[in-house]
């Protein structure tokens, strides 16, 4: 496989504050990577560094085998990197009409003909002469995407591209992006904090938290075996609770003793509680907890999934209610069943 992007020990700092630290991963042609993380975790900075819009403070970036950036220097200018970027705010040119937006990027790569073709492929062939103020939010998203692809980039970078769209439009745009990318060898780096976007589009994932790269690898592996609490939060894999390993090697939590994959070394640890593990129990087993609130969640089946938020020893836990109906303020006994995975905090 052709390696399109390699990042080694990449770091960036603004005014003495590290916004990105020691990011390292690589991407081959045609691969799709999602970069997940909460706001302020350094996702956009990472994209700007890859695009060559900023010079890194640490590390280096290699694009298609050529050194593109190293400490304090942009070695290959953004215009020569064969990289396209869809900005979070789209950055469409206010003075150009729809077709001209795409033709702008297609110059030297098929020009207006290529732009017209792309406009047709994104379903906006009839809107070629529309100015920006005449286009809807979804149409602008498509134009931005088409403009990026008109560059025929080796690497497509997308910064929260669908953040302003509703769920239906997001799904539509994901399908469109997938269909457009399927016909090319363009690699994708998708920055998002939507797990739906990541799961639908990417097969590789990098998770950032406070500028640190806390996970990197194939999405399936990360989903099955998350190593860090940030990954759990980013991908919505379950709840994180705090536990303490006692001298006897048992793990105590606010919701009672739990079985874990962790060793028996005494000390504090973080545990992943997957949906379905917390249960209401009767009798003396379990820990008494107060129902703080009730929530509803849509489920794949026709029934509604009821969730109770319970509190014990000042800690909150969500549990799915199966048959038992509870009310707010009621005191129930809960237990975490099965083995909890230990993750880094």
């Amino acid at each position: 496989m052709n390696e399109v992007l390699r990042i080694a020990g990449l770091g960036q700092a603004f005014n003495g504050t590290n916004v990105l630290h020691n990011a390292s991963f690589s991407l081959n042609a045609g691969e799709r990577l999602a970069v997940l993380g909460p706001s302020g975790s350094g996702k956009t900075t990472l994209l700007r560094l890859i695009a060559g819009l900023e010079a890194p403070k640490h590390g280096e970036i290699t694009i298609t085998g050529r050194a593109a950036s190293r400490v304090g220097a942009v070695l290959i200018a953004p215009e020569h990197r064969e990289v396209a970027l869809v900005f979070q705010g789209l950055a469409l040119f206010p003075h150009l009409r729809a077709l001209d937006q795409i033709a702008f990027a297609a110059r030297g790569r098929g020009g207006v003909k290529q732009a017209t073709n792309l406009l047709g492929r994104i379903g906006l062939g009839h809107r070629a002469n529309a100015s920006l103020d005449q286009l809807s939010g979804g149409e602008r998203q498509r134009i931005a995407l088409a403009r990026a692809l008109a560059q025929q980039p080796k690497l497509l970078l997308m910064d929260e591209p669908f953040a302003s769209l509703d769920d239906d439009k997001r799904a539509e745009m994901r399908d469109l992006l997938r269909s457009l990318l399927d016909t090319t060898e363009t690699a994708l780096v998708l920055v998002t904090h939507s797990r739906e976007d990541a799961l639908a589009l990417a097969r590789q994932v990098v998770v950032l938290e406070r500028g640190e790269q806390v996970a990197c690898g194939p999405l399936e592996t990360v989903l099955v075996r998350p190593k860090h609490a940030a990954v759990v939060r980013a991908l919505g894999l379950g709840q994180i609770i705090e536990g303490e390993t006692t001298d006897r090697g048992e793990v105590e939590t606010a919701f009672g003793k739990v079985d874990t994959t962790a060793g028996t070394k005494p000390g504090r640890l973080w545990l992943l509680v997957r949906a379905g593990q917390p249960r209401i129990v009767s009798g003396p087993e379990g820990i008494e907890a107060e129902v703080v609130s009730l929530e509803l969640r849509p489920s794949e089946a026709r029934e509604i999934c009821r969730v109770a938020v319970v509190r014990a020893a000042g800690k909150l836990l969500r549990l799915i209610l199966h048959e038992r109906i509870v009310s707010v303020g009621e005191r129930i006994r809960v237990r975490i069943e099965g083995e909890c995975e230990s993750v880094e905090g």
């Binding site: 819009l53 970027l85 900005f87 950055a91 702008f104 030297g108 002469n129 005449q134």
Partner: protein, 562 residues
Amino acid sequence: MKTCPRILAVSALSLAAVIIFSPLVAALTGTGLERHALADAFRCVAAPLGGSSETALASALVALLLGVPFAILVERSRTGLRRVFWGLGLIVLMVPPYIVAESWIVLLGPAGKISRLIATLLGFGPHSTDSIQVARFTVPGFVYTKLSVGMVMGGCLFPIIALAVASAFRRTDQRIFESARIAQGTRGVWRLAAHVLVPPALGAGLLVFAVTLTEFAVPQLLRVRTVGEAVYERIQEGDVATAATLGLPLLPVVVIAGGLGALILLRSRLASLAGLEGEVPKFTGRPAGWTGNVLAGVMTLFAVIPAMILPLTSLIWLTVTAKLPEPSAIGPHQVLRASGFLPSLRGAWELAHDDAIRTVLLAGTAATLATLFAIALARLTSKLGWGPLLGVAGAGLAVPAPIVGLGLVVLWNHGWSAVIYQGPAIVVLAWFARFLPVAIFLVQGALTRVPRELESAAALAGRKPWERLISVVLPNAAPGLVAAWLALYVLSATEFSATLLVAPPGSPFLAPSVVNLMRRGQDPEIAACQFLLLAVIALPLVPLACAAIHRARAHTIHQGVK
């Protein structure tokens, strides 16, 4: 890698500094001023400096009283009306303050047309057409006071306040007012409005204060003793060294006031943008009902009375009604004898068409050069993050215009530079030097308003830096750049203090001619010349209006097709 841009930026900055500050340095060092004269000059400038400060304070207060309610009411009116009201308000900025001052004298001065009419109606005015008796008659002579200078200047400069307040208003998500109302009722809304609008109003008020301090013609016409008047007096006496020194005490006051104003405006802009996280609010509040629209209209009319309605009334009145009793020679021109509106205008055209054409061509050249230079300067410095350095150029605005003129005379009145000094180039140079700081601020503002992401997108699309400038930055900054060019053109075409000193003999310019004529009295030809000056100022608006109409039509047709 960055060496070349750095050298270019340093060269451009040095050139700008030389252009802006060399006349001041030359005026101070090349006029042969002695140390004891310096002390004398400082002693005798105290009273005029007080006069300047008082008029500037009055001007800032008047501008605040007109500008703040204008901005608030007009911003809440319906879109179509809002454009009309803003159009009327901004036109005021194109009227030279000395024409406004003259109109105040004509209409409201002792024996003025309105004041005399009112006095006659009230039964205490003169009942004679005898000029001596009329001359003796004086209604309260408030026109010749510092407050009047303040009212004229405030009336001319209120759009500066209005623009600052309106842009703060636009940057504010109107939902915060709704949440304030929910939390604290009307009192909360007022408190919040004060928090949002006071800093920009204060900052713009300080700018108006600084601009009024540097105004020379209006205090002269309204016979108020200011630093400008003192400087001009010395120049007319031939004591150029003292004249140059007299302007010095004004410099720190203007620099401090202007700098503080700019800083407050910048801080309030940054604060409001931080609140929005860089996004322009999409929810702009509910537009006002018909009462709000009427109020906005009334406020607009009220705000434009001092600097638009009064001058127009005065000029039309003079051109239509007055007749010249006898011919006389004024300056290089033969005054024409004509009455009536059109004959007066025709006469004025015959009288001063050479001046007008010369003014249009050279003002256009100076404005274009300054705009291009400012674009280059802003680009070069912004790439290196040196943009804030350009703020120093603002100090150049504090240099009094006659001193710029004097300095240029000292610099260029040599045998080797005769080609420049004896031709129109010296006038272009004077305007360029005087208004380059304005060009820098306006152009820098226009360029920084183009989102940086657009240029990044163009770079990623393979465009070289100069291609990005031409294909992305300039088209998107075009409205701001055109406004900057227009402002520079108007400032150059109406500049008279420096122009008067540097204009080559036999090549008069319209503004100095008009001001000189105004000093000599009021007659239809002078009024017609003022009309001609206004026409020269408004000339670039014609192609701009045509372009705007064409664009609006194309937009409508396109929407129709859609």
